[in-house]
């Protein structure tokens, strides 16, 4: 293998990849938000009224959330917020810890 390529490899092994905290937040937020939105509407379509007694327990944490179509939109907003916080904190913490 060429010396320049080996040099690149050695250099890369000593470096550490960094995460974009804001991008991580957006990705986690979209995944959690879309996940809850889909899970809620799946139960609404499948069971109609009185759907999802267990999923409905999320209203303890997300006031206003219910297993209805309107609730799925509210849940999307909440879950996006929680996911964004998780992703952003995870990315920022990783970057900080990787530097130590």
């Amino acid at each position: 293998m060429q010396p320049a390529i080996r040099n690149e490899e050695e250099l890369l092994e000593k470096a550490v990849v960094r995460l974009n905290a804001r991008l991580m937040g957006i990705i986690f937020g979209l995944i959690l938000g879309a996940g809850l939105f889909l899970a809620t509407n799946f139960l609404v379509i499948k069971d109609g009224s009185n759907a999802g007694p267990h999923l409905g327990l999320l209203s303890h944490y997300f006031p206003g959330y219910s297993v209805t179509f309107a609730g799925s939109l509210i849940g999307f907003v909440y879950a996006f917020g929680v996911g964004f916080a998780i992703g952003a904190i995870l990315g920022a913490l990783y970057n900080r810890l990787a530097e130590v």
């Binding site: 490899e9 250099l11 890369l12 000593k14 470096a15 550490v16 998780i86 990787a98």
Partner: protein, 144 residues
């Protein structure tokens, strides 16, 4: 202090320094930004970060229910005790849950980073090999 590692593309705009635990700040290699996505993840850092975030999440979920109170607090969340010995939906139990989920999160993050690094390294090796093959694949033809 000058980096110990020579780098042929050091004239790229504002190369940034990224460190490794075992190296002093002055000895860290200078890596051009374009190559940074190919660097390995720090397994311990990702493990710690995942453990802290997930542990805090379970702690918060428990404490919110404890603070809301009621006759029978968190019957569904307490099912976590099936997996996390000693966990209960109480103030003390929230810390037990935090410890359990921190450990689980640490393992998850560490394994994720290790797998990502291994797969990325394999992919890089394949890319290097393919590039070499393209460059020297006709070496016998040249000897004719």
């Amino acid at each position: 202090m000058q980096s110990a590692v020579a780098w042929e593309y050091n004239d790229q705009p504002q190369p940034r320094r990224y460190g490794v635990n075992s190296m002093a700040a002055d000895e860290r290699p200078t890596v051009p930004p374009i190559l940074l996505p190919f660097a390995p993840m720090n397994k311990r850092a990702l493990g710690l970060a995942t453990g802290i975030v997930l542990g805090t999440l379970v702690w918060l979920a428990t404490i919110i229910l404890v603070l809301k109170g009621g006759p029978h607090v968190g019957p569904t969340l307490s099912l976590l005790s099936q997996y996390f010995y000693g966990y209960r939906v109480t103030a003390a139990g929230s810390f037990v849950g935090l410890a359990w989920v921190f450990a689980l999160g640490y393992i998850l993050g560490w394994v994720f980073a290790a797998l990502r690094n291994a797969l990325f390294r394999a992919w890089l090796e394949m890319a290097y090999s393919r590039a070499e093959l393209e460059e020297y694949g006709d070496i016998l033809d040249r000897l004719r």
